[in-house]
């Protein structure tokens, strides 16, 4: 009230002065690339005379020629401009760097960058919003120091392999905790469908993200206690800003195509190679003169026009996928109420036929200051996401399936057609691909009818929301109560046609409904005060309770009444229950944080959390975690400022932290209990031992040390972030193998044994390299070196064997003294030039060669002198290389010239090896097709080649039946992850009436190219997904896609 009176009074006074001598001044206020800025307050300094700019950013007012105009707008630095008698004044507003001073979002709050003494990386939402990805996490590759992102295949919405500072567990999830607007949410592949990938992070529209903060060291993550071992990713969604409503439209459309597919043999080459193999087999088995043994088994087929049947199975399985994405947002608000509303439609098609992702989403964020002491915030996100996919053979556990599209495209015979002349599918009587005139059978399906007739979808209805109230009864004190909900309803629909494939002969349909209900209730009390102007103290205390309830139910109907039915709801003869599950888990925690700084020079943060996790053993549910970190801003010290070093190194802050965090991200929420399951024996009810429980199951504990420096050079034009870290993990939860003769279910029990460490350093360089006239070049380079080593397992000489696809293939080994999940297999030593046989090296170090076809009674395995040798088996396997990258990072550049901008972002990774298991498939000498490399096979004595003599039926020599070192390859690569070229269209073109304030058009290529010596499709491929124990296996997976997009962003 007083203020208003005062204002009025001042106003009247100045008016009288102004009347004395005034002039007219007009002008325009702009921001960024000259886009008009409406709603800017223009005030004559020292008076109350003023106005706001109009929609096109212009203003006109009367004032004294000697007066000074003050331009102000929330979020921008105020500017004072003397009129100096001018009649036209243009002002360009710049973002208020102080106000937006690099803030770091930490658990349950924020800190300024200067206060922050832990280790974190921040990625702005803008960096991911235009990428042709399904979920933001796929777009983080190379953008955050210390964060490694691998895209395990080209299947849409497949969760990437995220590792923050290495693998930090063996049996538990190494996927970081993802917190969206304060609520830890469900992550990973939630589909519960073995066919369709469904990453719930794909339910968040990347364009809604304001910032992504990655917390890396214990001092920052320990506030999340037991869940922080793999790091924490904090997502902050956009909220409104006071001022005129702002409307943005962001859209892109693009095409995706598979890249780096190997070249397969054509029909003619196929028959030549396979018949050579058949003849070799005949000769080698001593049947050269035996007329009853075939010399050829592969024969051509001809089309009606007389041409040779030569099927390119790639064309039948892969496609050029067209995608589009549209987002519209409206935001704005007054001082008391701010809002953000957005909607998104995305439809993306993958490189494989029938692989689709579509998302329809709405988000609403509102922030209302009800009174001076109470603020309410709410945000709600609802979306519907549909993931559709054929069986790709690329998801975890699918590498050896009979239905995997990638493998079928590789191995299907090219000399048989997809369709018979009458248009029907080319099928055998045994529900497999018809082999035409070839005198062999295939045990694989024809992929085309499966793509045409079968249906696999996983659909999410996902509500993410938080409601919070902030009470601030006295200055510095804030009490926040917040309730968050992450309710995910998934419906999986599977239909397998009776015509062909796994549904043969009568068809089946499975529907499963999964409800993943997660709520989080948080109370926090914060108090900030400054004592004697130099002592800043911050206190946080909180209580958090989170509950997860998962329920799934479903059924399979089979024996379709009629081929007409394609859905579960049709008519079938049989129904059996499927995919039923009921699980619950709770986390209850109290936590606190104390922060202190003296004169912005010395900083201290102490975190503590006591966590209870219901999944652990009865007496082991609660654990105490915490961390302490300190910082010293040298650059603020007088002695430093006066030193000559300060001329160059303008900023210098040292920081160190230590903390203890836990991990109990058990996928089995009842892992500590001994359980019996009920089932049926015919129709009689049963109870049988189903899980050996360990009542002493407790946390894994990580002790992390982090030491670093933030350095600014040349007035912070170059900023360096150097960090050394080490994380010692103890009490690893391992699924300790039990002697199978004990009969414990799954032959394993969860126990806290073993330890390992990750050590490394990170370098982040951000530089404003060049700024000259219209041209500028900004760059960010980041590098992480990480060393992982297992230091103890469950006893002397113990090791953990990892298998690809359930138990199908032993492919990895975790051994003390090596990194987790090293590659494992038989050691080979090329091809014997004398006879073209693959040479293996057995456990004694002896060379043993393999001949698939021998006369009856002779040994297939011989020493090089021809005497019989024992077969190579698992006991001869050796560790073949580390599968975890030793270094990785990104190199991101933005060039601007006038209205043009060019983004060039590289990612790189290396120091690890990949088992190119697909190579085993490509060179398998059964009835399978091969890559053209096989044309270099051994044929004549003395010939040096890496492809053994082809012998029909040989599944061993090339690593198809078990992994061999021949197929282990270096995984080092540099990828041009994205390249984009944008142009800001001058808005004047559209005229003021259009209301358009900014337009940017751009074109972009995603996964542009790969520089690598890896001969497989992509060294990032992981056939075992996010598994810790079996990384680095590329077996029968589809490759990545390359996407070209064209997009437009419009602001109103």
């Amino acid at each position: 009230m007083k203020k208003v009176v005062l204002l009025l009074f001042v106003c009247l006074c100045t008016l009288s002065v102004a009347l004395a001598q005034t002039q007219k001044v007009s002008g325009k206020v702009t921001e960024g690339e000259n886009s008009p800025l409406p709603g800017v307050t223009v005030l004559v300094k020292g008076t109350s005379q003023g106005m706001t700019t109009s929609a096109d950013g212009t203003f006109t007012m009367e004032c004294a020629p000697t007066s000074t105009l003050v331009f102000s707008f929330i979020g921008y630095s105020s500017q004072e401009v003397p009129v100096n008698g001018r009649s036209s004044i243009s002002v360009k507003m710049g973002a208020d760097t102080k106000q937006l001073a690099d803030v770091v979002v930490v658990g349950y709050g924020t800190q300024t960058k200067e206060e922050f003494t832990g280790s974190a990386a921040r990625v702005k939402g803008d960096a991911v919003k235009d990428l042709p990805v399904q979920s933001f996490d796929q777009g983080l590759a190379g953008k955050a120091t210390g964060v490694s992102i691998g895209q395990p295949n080209g299947v849409l919405n497949n969760p990437p392999v995220i590792r923050i500072r290495g693998v930090n567990s063996i049996s538990l999830s190494s996927y970081p905790l993802v917190v969206v607007d304060g609520v830890p949410i469900n992550t990973g592949n939630v589909a519960g469908s073995s066919t369709v990938a469904n990453n719930p992070l794909g339910d968040i529209n990347p364009a809604d993200i304001e910032s992504i903060d990655v917390l890396k060291d214990a001092a920052s993550t320990s506030i999340y206690g037991s869940r922080a071992a793999a790091g924490v990713i904090l997502i902050t969604t956009k909220s409104g800003k006071a001022g005129k409503p702002k409307v943005t439209y962001e859209g892109w459309a693009g095409v995706t195509r598979a890249v780096r597919l190997p070249k397969m043999l054509n029909a003619e080459q196929f028959m030549m190679i396979k018949n050579e193999a058949v003849l070799n087999s005949k000769i080698l088995s001593g049947n050269a003169n035996n007329a009853s043994v075939a010399s050829e088994l592969f024969f051509p087929m001809y089309n009606a026009d007389g041409s040779l049947v030569d099927t390119d199975w790639y064309k039948e399985v892969y496609q050029t996928g067209f995608s589009q994405n549209h987002s519209l947002s409206v935001s704005g608000g007054s001082e008391s109420t701010k809002y953000y509303f957005s909607t998104n439609y995305s439809k993306q098609r993958g490189i494989l036929k029938t692989n689709e992702f579509s998302r329809k989403a709405v988000r609403f964020n509102v922030d209302h200051k009800l009174t001076s002491w109470l603020t309410l915030t709410a945000n709600a996100n609802y979306n519907n996401t549909l993931n559709a996919s054929p069986n790709t053979g690329s998801l975890e556990g699918n590498a050896f399936g009979l239905v995997g599209s990638a493998r079928l495209a590789w191995l299907s015979a090219p000399n048989v057609p997809v369709y018979n002349p009458d248009g029907s599918y080319n099928l055998s009587t045994a529900n497999t691909l018809g082999m035409g005139n070839n005198q062999v059978s295939s045990n694989f399906y024809n992929p085309v009818p499966m793509l045409d007739l079968n249906k696999y979808t996983s659909e999410n209805d996902h509500i993410l929301g938080t409601f919070a109230a902030d009470f601030h009864p006295v200055k510095g004190l804030n009490y926040r109560i917040s309730y968050g909900v992450d309710r995910l309803k998934i419906e999986n629909v599977t239909f397998q046609s009776g015509v062909h494939g796994p549904g043969y002969p009568s068809g089946n349909a499975t529907n499963t409904s999964i409800a993943a209900n997660n709520w989080d209730f948080t109370n926090t009390l914060t108090y900030n005060l400054t004592v004697a102007s130099k002592h800043s103290i911050g206190l946080l205390a909180g209580y958090d309770r989170q509950k997860f309830d998962n329920a799934a139910w479903g059924a399979t109907r089979s024996n379709s009444a009629d081929i007409f039915f394609n859905d579960f709801q049709g008519s079938y003869g049989t129904i059996i229950p499927a995919n039923n599950a009921l699980n619950e888990r709770a986390l209850v925690s109290v936590f606190g944080r104390f922060t202190y700084d003296y004169d912005k020079k010395y900083f201290l943060t102490v975190n503590f959390r006591r966590d209870g996790n219901s999944a652990l053993g009865a007496g082991k549910k609660y654990g105490n975690f915490g961390g302490v970190s300190g910082g010293w801003s040298l650059a603020e010290e007088n002695f430093y400022r006066n030193s000559s070093l300060a001329q160059v190194m303008t900023g210098l802050k040292l920081r160190a932290s230590w903390g203890k965090i836990g991990n109990a991200n058990l996928t089995n929420w009842y892992g500590s209990l001994s359980l019996y399951n009920s089932g049926l024996y015919g129709s009689a009810a049963t109870w049988a031992f189903s899980q050996g429980g360990n009542p002493d199951l407790g946390w894994e504990t990580g002790k992390q040390t982090n030491v670093g420096a933030d350095i600014g050079l040349f007035n912070d034009r170059i900023q360096l972030d150097l960090t050394y870290y080490r994380n010692n993990v103890d009490g690893l939860i391992l699924n300790v193998p039990q002697s199978p003769s004990k009969g414990i279910p799954n032959n394993a029990m969860l126990m806290n044994v073993g330890s390992m460490y990750n050590r490394g350093f990170e370098v982040g360089v951000t530089a404003n390299v060049l700024e000259s006239g219209k041209f500028s070049w900004n760059t960010n380079f980041n590098y992480t070196f990480n060393k992982n080593q297992v230091t103890a397992l469950y006893g002397e000489g113990t090791e953990i064997v990892g298998t690809t696809s359930a138990t199908a293939e032993t492919s990895n080994i975790t051994r003390v003294g090596y990194s987790v999940g090293s590659l494992y297999g038989a050691k080979t030593d090329g091809v014997n030039p004398e006879n073209g046989q693959r040479i293996f090296i057995n456990r004694e170090g002896q060379r043993v060669q393999y001949n698939h076809a021998v006369p009856s009674g002779q040994s297939r395995w011989t020493y090089l002198d021809g005497s019989a040798a024992p077969a190579i088996s698992v006991s001869d396997y050796q560790l073949l290389g580390n599968a975890l990258p030793k270094f990785y990072g990104g190199f991101n550049n933005t060039f601007r010239y006038g209205n043009f901008d060019l983004g060039v972002n590289f990612t790189y990774s290396g120091g690890n090896y990949v088992m190119n298991g697909s190579k085993g498939t490509w060179r398998d000498q059964r009835f399978w097709n091969n890559t053209t490399e096989v044309l270099d096979r051994w044929t004549t004595p003395g010939q040096k080649t890496d492809i053994p003599r082809v012998v029909y039926g040989d599944l061993l020599s090339n690593g198809s039946s078990f992994p061999i070192s021949e197929n282990v390859e270096k995984a080092d690569y540099i990828r041009l992850q994205t390249a984009s070229l944008g142009y800001r269209v001058p808005v004047q073109l559209f005229g003021a009436k259009s209301g358009i304030s900014s337009v940017r058009v751009y074109t972009q290529v995603f996964n542009a190219f790969l520089i690598t010596k890896y001969s497989g499709t992509d060294p990032d491929i992981s056939s075992n997904g996010n598994s810790n124990l079996t990384p680095g296996v590329d077996k029968n997976s589809i490759p990545q896609g390359r996407t070209f997009t064209f997009g437009v962003n419009v602001g109103f």
């Binding site: 009864p473 109560i481 002969p505 002697s739 009969g743 414990i744 088996s873 039926g953």
Partner: protein, 484 residues
């Protein structure tokens, strides 16, 4: 103004307190509940002996252990058959037994591990039942307890017999002196006791016989229904299995002793006490229309809600997916198996290739898998009669003929085949190949007689001196059991 402000402050303060209390109130009340969730679809071990029904459930659970896909549900009899010479692998797929067929199983092979694990998992179930009944004596009455223990011992014996015939050298090689398998006789539910040495083959056989003798004494004569008589062990089931075990041990006199308990002296041969086992008029009855006749002594029941499908299902392997066809040079062309023989109606021709369709119900696969059938007992009996210390060739011939003529009534065995013990034994072996084709007998029949496994297709022959003659103990056992 001042008054207004202070009121506001009070309201603010009390509201904050209220919310705080609500927040903290939640802390105390139900934290214990939500921190100790009780699984709703599984039972914690402590509640297992709360009711007699749950004890019966565990008894059925042991049988269900036998019935898993990797064991008697399909894989185990399949592996036994395809190691022999009757089937040709068509698709070279290691997931459908190519390694076993081709004798390239090694200690890391899936089939070596899953067979071993399934058998031992079931053994542990039987031990847990035996231990649990002793620890909870009053849940079911003494008579029922005795019966359940008898059933457990029968199941345990069947598991050990399966293990020793796959992973141990044949008993007859050296009267069981070779190393056998670890004998686990206590229920295991903790991380302890990983180490246990192998017992000898003879020790394992002795335990099998002891369990079966105990079972014979404890098991009921019969149950209340044909279904139970076929799917749970009764006294004659134990006796029938003993004829198989003693035959493996080459103790023919004992086979005869046991067989006489369940085979009448006069035709038609049938069991005089207990379940009246007898051959059915038509073998097709047993495999198509009725799975619970008195011929089926012990079978794995299949229902729509509980059946074995996919790559361990016999119907999938032999019929639907045609993973194996019958070897043209195997038993298929034998003169003893004439074209009119009704057992040939269980074969199917596709072109010139023959497939076995003993298990023909597909999707769902509802054919019961036979474990012990009366015709096997008769053939065990006939062989023992021919090979015992004082052979009874006439009786042996009569029993053999009964089996054969059931399916080919016009056939009489030529005198040359019945005139000597050796010739007759050979004829009985041929008959076993015809009668029991696809029921999991072939490789054991070769091994128990130390015969070489003949070559077939591209797979080589294997003699009894070769390591491939038996399955290797799986790596998983070798690496965790340090006393092996």
């Amino acid at each position: 103004m001042n008054i207004h402000t202070s009121t506001a402050k009070v309201v603010k303060a009390s509201l904050a307190c209220l919310v705080l209390t609500v927040g903290l109130g939640l802390t105390a009340c139900d934290e214990k509940d939500i921190m100790n969730p009780v699984p709703q679809t599984s039972l914690q071990g402590t509640f297992l002996f709360d009711t007699p029904e749950r004890v019966l459930g565990q008894v059925n659970g042991m049988y269900a252990g036998l019935k898993v896909g990797n064991f008697f549900g399909g894989r185990f009899p399949m592996l036994s058959d395809i190691r022999g010479e009757e089937f040709i692998n068509r698709l070279q797929n290691v997931f459908t037994g190519y390694d076993a067929w081709n004798h390239t199983i090694n200690s890391g092979s899936n089939d070596a591990l899953t067979t071993w694990s399934s058998a031992y998992a079931t053994i542990n179930l039987t031990n847990l039942v035996i231990d649990g009944l002793a620890a909870h004596p009053n849940v079911v009455d003494a008579a029922t307890t005795a019966q359940y223990v008898g059933e457990a011992k029968f199941v345990r014996a069947l598991c050990y017999f399966s293990l020793i015939s796959f992973y141990g050298q044949p008993y007859v090689k050296n009267q069981g002196a070779s190393p056998g398998v670890p004998l686990r006789m206590k229920g295991e539910a903790s991380p302890a006791n990983n180490n246990l040495a192998r017992s000898t083959v003879a020790q394992v056989y002795a335990q099998i016989i002891k369990d079966l003798d105990d079972a014979e004494a404890a098991l009921p004569l019969k149950y209340s229904s044909d279904l139970l008589n076929t799917t749970r062990a009764h006294r004659n089931t134990a006796i029938a299995l003993k004829t198989r075990v003693y035959l493996n041990m080459g103790q023919f006199d004992k086979v005869v002793t046991e067989a006489k308990k369940v085979v009448s002296d006069a035709t038609p041969y049938k069991a005089a006490t207990g379940v009246a086992h007898q051959l059915q008029a038509d073998i097709n009855t047993v495999f198509t229309s009725s799975y619970t006749t008195t011929e089926s002594i012990f079978s794995m029941p299949m229902t729509e809600l509980d059946n074995i499908s996919g790559q361990s299902s016999l119907g999938y392997e032999y019929n639907l997916n045609q993973e194996y066809n019958l070897n043209a040079t195997g038993i298929l062309g034998n003169a003893q198996w004439r074209t009119g023989d009704s057992r040939r109606t269980m074969l199917r021709a596709s072109g010139t290739t023959m497939y076995l369709m003993k298990y023909r119900k597909a999707n769902p696969y509802l054919d019961y898998v036979p474990v012990i059938r009366y015709s096997e007992v008769l053939l065990n009996y006939a062989e023992a009669l021919a090979r015992q210390s004082t052979p009874d060739l006439a009786k042996a011939t009569a029993v053999l003929t009964a089996v054969h003529q059931r399916s080919d009534s016009g056939y009489t065995f030529p005198a040359a085949t019945t005139s000597s013990a050796t010739a007759l034994t050979n004829a009985i072996w041929v008959e076993r190949r015809i009668e029991l084709l696809g029921e999991g007998f072939r490789s054991n029949d070769l091994l128990r007689n130390m015969l070489p496994i003949p070559s077939k297709g591209t797979a080589p022959s294997i003699t009894s001196s070769q390591p491939e003659y038996i399955f290797p103990i799986p790596n998983a056992e070798i690496s965790s059991n340090k006393e092996l």
